[in-house]
């Protein structure tokens, strides 16, 4: 049996597969259809200081090979999460990574501080890249100095694993990866969704209430691979690869591009046990290819470095 354990800073994962924020509820939302003890970790729905209603309908539309969403960070708020969700999460044999979203630096710090007082949280993923809210979100994640400041402030508040979730909606994601690595982040996760839009030509209206939304699913996998590869060339801290991973082979491709772990997102909506199947599949993949440790795949991409075009973009 191949060794599947990976490490992201101080966070040890029994295998490199997690469920992505916002795609699995708070972690215990469909026990009938999935067993979270089989995966490396759960990234919770984004938590803000106060509950958020989220955006008006329509919030979802399917597009070719993908889906657009504009949920708007609807969540129960950190207090309700601590009181009513965390006790059950503590019982699972998997890493719990709390995702935090906020509209100010102080709010990020406040939410993290509240969670830091609780047992049962193994790390934090900081959402500076939600495309569907007015304040915070992308206005933080597309500004490198703001992203760095958030990282610096949060780093001073915790020794647990601190991961910054990056947006692909920038020219060079490597710039952001470097900025957060320099401030002591333990890892980066990427990509969040790609800004996109769908139109109803009969009504002549946008389909989503917020006009634009975030594109996810297989349609964005090539973008995600390119961004993960770019970030992997720029920083030494571990990367969690996210973006359209539906199968074991997709996950392997992200590891080859330089990700230490992967997060499964949209696939959970179609098959709530997709992440468990991919975790098991990675073990089988390693075994059948005589790969002793899953970490042997990380960054193992063979690239001809004599072609200058590649590096002019990176």
């Amino acid at each position: 049996m191949a060794e599947l354990g990976v490490r992201v800073g101080p966070l040890e994962l029994k295998n490199p597969v997690l469920v992505a924020s916002g795609t699995f509820g708070y972690g215990n939302d469909c026990p009938e259809l999935s067993d979270v003890n089989l995966i490396g970790g759960i990234v919770t729905k984004s938590l803000s200081m106060n509950p958020r209603d989220g955006n008006p309908p329509d919030r979802i539309v399917e597009t070719a090979g993908g889906m657009l969403n504009s949920i708007g960070l609807a969540n129960i708020g950190v207090h309700d999460f601590i009181a009513n969700k965390l006790p059950e999460l503590r019982r699972f044999d998997t890493a719990i990574v709390a995702n935090i979203a906020a509209s100010s630096v102080d709010e990020y710090c406040g939410v993290l501080s509240l969670l830091e007082e609780q047992g049962g949280i193994h790390g934090y993923e900081i959402n500076v890249s939600c495309p569907n809210v007015k304040e915070g979100g992308l206005s933080f994640g597309t500004n490198p100095s703001m992203t760095a400041e958030i990282t610096r402030r949060l780093r001073s508040l915790t020794k647990k694993c601190l991961i910054i979730k990056l947006t692909p909606n920038v020219a060079h994601v490597s710039e952001f990866a470097r900025a957060v690595a320099d401030e002591g982040a333990d890892g980066v996760s990427l990509i969040n969704t790609v800004v996109g839009m769908a139109i109803d030509h009969r009504k002549r209206t946008p389909i989503l209430s917020t006009v634009t939304g975030g594109l996810s699913g297989p349609a964005i996998k090539p973008i995600a691979l390119a961004k993960v590869y770019e970030a992997a060339q720029a920083v030494k801290i571990p990367i969690m690869g996210i973006g359209g991973i539906m199968t074991t082979e997709d996950a392997v491709e992200f590891l080859l591009a330089g990700a230490t772990a992967v997060q499964i997102g949209t696939a959970n909506f179609i098959d709530p046990s997709a992440s468990m199947k991919i975790a098991r599949g990675l073990g089988e993949y390693c075994d059948s290819n005589n790969i002793p440790r899953v970490t042997d795949l990380v960054g193992a991409l063979k690239v001809r470095t004599d072609i200058s075009l590649i590096h002019s973009w990176l």
Binding site: G25, D29, L33, M67, N69, A74, P272
Partner: protein
């Protein structure tokens, strides 16, 4: 709620572009109630990406039936599914119509494919010994499906069958002629119809349950993609897939 592969028994067109698909799904059939739905993956690949939600139309022994229009790739695949095909199904999902309760006459109102939950609802109402009246609205006569329903009155947009006009106008006229004894309305259909019906129910003070439709990604409450505005609580939205699809007409804002 369970996920499994279930065998297609048959698919046939029962009215203009309205297809009836029968699935052998004993585990779901034994627990499903009227108003609940199935979320079906139409093919073993990611195009179309998401599952497609369908109200359970009718149950017969171990078989469950759904009906649908062919509107896109997913429903086109289902309409041509050969008998013996195995479909990946999650269900039963959502809440159900409140069949039990303090009323005597059930008034069923459906517009277009809103007929989907009505045959199963009719069967449950008959078991509960309620008197049933059914009002169906359709674009034209070719779109009328009335099997497994009771005391059916029809409205069509073009007058090619029954009353010419909307099904809500038809019901309004009927209520004016003679009131029902302790009635309750059960409805499913397009949002404008449900909105008009909620207004009517409020005017005549009849309790009314609406089964809502919404775009959704997961069908099980994890994507938060199917909100409907609700009144009378601290929250602004409820999720159609998990807290519905059936809501009291007084508690939703359409």
């Amino acid at each position: 709620m369970r996920q499994g592969f279930y065998r297609v028994e048959s698919v046939r067109e029962i009215a203009g572009n309205i297809h009836l698909l029968s699935l052998h799904a004993p585990e779901i059939a034994s627990s499903v109630r009227a108003g609940q739905f199935l979320n079906i993956k139409t093919r073993d690949y990611f195009l179309p990406l998401l599952r497609r939600p369908f109200s359970v139309y009718h149950r017969e022994g171990d078989s469950l039936r759904i009906i649908f229009n062919v509107v896109g790739l997913g429903t086109r695949i289902l309409a041509s599914a050969p008998p013996g095909d195995q479909l990946d199904v999650i269900g039963p999902l959502g809440n159900a119509f409140g069949v039990r309760g303090e009323y005597d006459e059930a008034v069923l109102v459906a517009g277009g494919l809103g007929i989907a939950p009505m045959p199963m609802l009719t069967a449950e109402l008959k078991s509960a010994r309620k008197k049933i009246h059914t009002f169906l609205g359709a674009r034209n006569a070719s779109q009328i499906v009335r099997e497994h329903m009771e005391d059916v009155s029809v409205a069509t947009d073009d007058g090619s069958a029954g009353f010419r006009g909307t099904v809500v106008e038809l019901l309004r006229g009927r209520l004016r002629q003679a009131p029902y004894a302790r009635p309750k309305i059960f409805a499913c259909g397009p949002t404008p119809m449900l909105r008009a019906l909620a207004v009517l129910a409020e005017e005549v003070n009849i309790p009314c349950e609406l089964s809502l439709e919404s775009p959704m990604a997961c069908g099980i409450g994890i994507c938060q993609g199917c909100p409907v505005e609700v009144t009378g609580g601290p929250r602004k939205y409820a999720l159609v897939c998990r807290e519905g699809t059936v809501f009291d007409s007084k508690l939703v804002v359409l």
